[in-house]
């Protein structure tokens, strides 16, 4: 009897261990392509129409399009679990927070397929250099840019004309404008600097080394660099006088300000007009009419720079799984999503692929919502995203510590906030497996 019980216990325990550990094996890579194998594609809601259009155009392929949660980190954690389980791994995925590629391409996930050789060099050459270089790890390209979040200076042209303000071309002028605006028209502002809207748009365009990854395991971080302190010099007085908000762009307290016309300018991504200004002024029910008022101006130039670098806020990417059974079709799908001229027209954001961007911009040229044609400014900014920006595995922690230091302090002591940010960034980078140098 006792013996039986012992045998039973051992059997149960070993069964449990098998259940628990059995899942971690499997998930080997396949190199052969099976043209009949079905495809599973994960997209966010904004990308679903273009994926569905492709499915309709290719009835010979069995493609399942799953619309998944687009929140930062969501895709990575789901793919990590699928890889661990050895099944349910998507063949192609759209990721809205492009920094996730750095986590997806590292241990323990190792999800993406290297695209060199499977995607023609001609296609790769059609993307702006910076989007390709950000997707490159250990000399291999692991993602294709869907859209770009290059920053420009969005501004209310009508309001600027009415108040006699000129568009700043340097950040010193931008700072002077903020001081003037606070004195003459309190309550109005020049955008927001919370999270990525400050870290990526301002510090990113300045080339402040916080996400300057040189290899997959080394990164340069130095917030004492003049490229960081000059940003602090502009931000501090403007946060203090309220002309730069510290609320998130989509915080309802801030969207209320957009809806009432209080935001007269913003250093913002290419998608800012379509996703922040347009919807919030159309559905607000307030008397403020944004149509015909806003347009894009070139990024102002940072003090000491010879050109006006742009930052990048967002910009989605497509990634192909290295375990895709029908590799050929999976790669073709990702290439079509980024380069197909018909799909380019249906894109909701500025396409990363050059020829697609040209097609997409045509619709902006004649869009009466803009005070003037923004297309030339957007195109120029696309080529000028600061190369010091990269995709790193600690992006989420970096933005969280940016908010905990620079934003939380309310810019009362910018130099110590910058220092604290640098310390936390270095710790986050080390924790993510990077060696940090200055």
């Amino acid at each position: 009897m006792r013996k039986n019980r012992a045998v039973f216990a051992v059997a149960t325990a070993s069964a449990l261990i098998m259940i628990a550990t059995g899942c971690s094996s499997g998930g080997g890579s396949t190199t052969t392509s099976d043209p009949k194998a079905p495809l599973t594609v994960w997209v966010d809601a904004d990308r679903a129409p273009q994926a569905q259009a492709y499915v309709k155009a290719h009835p010979e392929l069995k493609i399942t399009v799953n619309t998944v949660d687009a929140a930062q980190g969501s895709n990575t954690s789901k793919i990590a679990l699928a890889e661990k389980a050895g099944k349910g791994v998507p063949d192609v995925v759209f990721v809205g927070s492009p920094d996730e590629i750095s986590t997806l391409s590292a241990n323990p996930i190792n999800y993406p397929l290297a695209l060199n050789g499977v995607v023609s060099q001609k296609v790769l050459d059609g993307f702006p250099k910076n989007t390709i270089s950000r997707c490159t790890f250990n000399g291999k390209v692991y993602c294709l840019g869907n859209d770009e979040g290059q920053t420009v200076l969005w501004y209310n042209k009508a309001q600027f004309a009415q108040w006699g303000y000129s568009v700043p071309t340097t950040f010193d002028q931008f700072k002077a404008l903020g001081i003037k605006l606070a004195a003459e028209h309190p309550g109005y502002n020049l955008g927001t600097v919370n999270g990525r809207y400050g870290s990526d748009a301002f510090f990113g365009s300045s080339g402040c080394p916080v996400i300057d990854a040189t290899t997959v395991t080394s990164v340069k971080i130095n917030t004492a660099s003049p490229k960081c302190t000059r940003v602090g010099d502009v931000l501090a007085p403007l946060i203090a006088n309220g002309t730069l908000s510290t609320l998130d762009l989509f915080d309802k307290n801030y969207t209320a300000q957009i809806a009432s016309g209080k935001v007269i300018a913003m250093i913002g991504a290419s998608w800012t007009a379509d996703f922040a200004f347009k919807p919030m002024t159309t559905n607000s029910g307030t008397s403020f009419v944004a149509a015909g008022k806003y347009t894009a101006a070139p990024m102002p130039t940072w003090a000491g720079e010879s050109t006006n670098w742009s930052g990048a806020v967002g910009g989605g990417i497509w990634i192909v799984s290295k375990t895709a059974k029908n590799q050929k079709a999976a790669v073709a799908f990702a290439v079509a999503m980024t380069t197909d001229p018909t799909i380019a027209k249906t894109q909701s954001t500025y396409p990363a692929y050059g020829p697609s961007a040209d097609i997409w911009l045509k619709s902006k040229t004649s869009d009466p919502w803009y005070a003037s044609d923004p297309s030339k400014v957007l195109k120029a900014a696309s080529a000028k995203v600061n190369p010091a920006d990269g995709y790193v595995r600690y992006e989420t922690q970096l933005l969280d510590s940016y908010n905990a230091t620079i934003i939380k302090s309310g810019a009362t002591d910018m130099s110590s906030a910058l220092k604290a940010w640098g310390v936390q960034a270095a710790q986050a980078a080390k924790s993510a497996g990077y060696t940090v140098s200055k």
């Binding site: 149960t12 449990l16 261990i17 259940i19 628990a20 550990t21 980190g73 969501s74 990575t76 954690s77 990590a80 986590t103 590292a106 241990n107 323990p108 996930i109 919370n194 999270g195 997959v216 395991t217 908000s245 510290t246 609320l247 998130d248 989509f250 915080d251 309802k252 307290n253 209320a256 595995r393 989420t396 922690q397 969280d400 908010n403 905990a404 934003i407 939380k408 309310g410 310390v423 936390q424 710790q427 986050a428 924790s431 993510a432 497996g433 990077y434």
Partner: protein
């Protein structure tokens, strides 16, 4: 012959018991014990960016204990516990004792009313309180505006512990009031009556008679609530979403565990921190049990 009989009898006595336990046991093993064992195993597996995972008894623990976010998260949770637990206990015992002292219809109604907020739990409660603490839509918006930060947001790292405490008391007190009230009604009326005859006033009856008699309930509430407080996760996650960029994504220790597992895909560190959290909670539980003589059946 007699041996066989007693064996059969024992077997017969035990079978229904196992029958009752079995369904729970299956679930416990599948979703409790097995994942816990797997978690323990994972805590010793170190994931490196380059190369294969390796085995180390201490590396993941060192990594999580030296994480720059841990002191902040631990402090947040500590402040939350210090605010929330005493208020919870005070509210629960004051109301339960008052209801017990005056067993009127009003008391029954109060017991019901205090229980209602507890019916809305987890994410739904967090969402409800998110509205309560958003100055623009809250019925007490004008009051909240007195405490907003420089950018007009009420929710911030500074106010968060207080917000969660208010929410925790409102949602959790009702259930405990019912439990404590039940315990109080279980006290023999002879004991209370003889205390009165001896000249004890209401306060003395509570302090020297009633509270010592329900001591194990106090211990139970403390153990469960401390563990619950240490593991606070859903509320800060949902409420922080209402103020994007204003509250840390790793405000609580459990959110830090979640960050390791999802944002960083580092299951080893996630498991290590979860185990450390478990150790702290068990240690506190043992401390409370010994201090309150929770399991002693003798002199009460």
């Amino acid at each position: 012959m007699t041996i066989t009989n007693s064996r059969v009898r024992r077997l017969r006595r035990r079978t229904p018991a196992w029958g009752f336990i079995a369904p729970y046991l299956v679930l416990l093993v599948l979703f409790g014990v097995a994942p816990a064992i797997y978690g323990l195993y994972q805590a010793f597996i170190v994931t490196s960016v380059v190369g294969d995972p390796s085995f180390s008894l201490v590396q993941n623990f060192i990594d999580v204990l030296s994480d720059y976010r841990l002191p902040g998260s631990a402090l947040n949770v500590a402040v939350y516990l210090v605010i929330w637990l005493p208020i919870l206990l005070l509210v629960v015992f004051t109301l339960a004792l008052a209801m017990d002292a005056k067993r009127t219809r009003f008391a029954t109604l109060t017991r019901f009313v205090t229980y209602v907020p507890g019916a809305v739990t987890g994410a739904a409660a967090a969402l409800l309180w998110l509205f309560m603490f958003s100055p623009n839509v809250s019925p007490i918006g004008g009051f909240l505006r007195l405490f907003t930060t420089h950018n007009g947001s009420f929710l911030s790292d500074n106010t968060f512990a207080l917000v969660l405490s208010v929410m925790g008391v409102a949602a959790g007190a009702g259930g405990w009031i019912v439990v404590v009230y039940g315990a109080l009604t279980g006290i023999s009326s002879d004991v209370v009556e003889s205390a009165k005859l001896d000249g004890a006033n209401a306060w003395q009856t509570v302090w020297h008679i009633k509270l010592p008699l329900i001591r194990s309930y106090i211990a139970f509430i403390l153990i469960v609530s401390t563990a619950q407080g240490f593991q606070v996760f859903v509320e800060p996650t949902v409420i922080a979403a209402g103020a994007p960029g204003q509250v840390s994504r790793t405000w609580s220790i459990n959110q830090l565990v979640y960050s390791y597992a999802t944002e960083q895909s580092n299951y080893g560190r996630a498991s290590a921190l979860a185990i450390l959290l478990l150790v702290v909670c068990v240690a506190l539980a043992v401390f409370i049990i010994t201090k309150t003589k929770f399991y002693s059946t003798g002199d009460r």
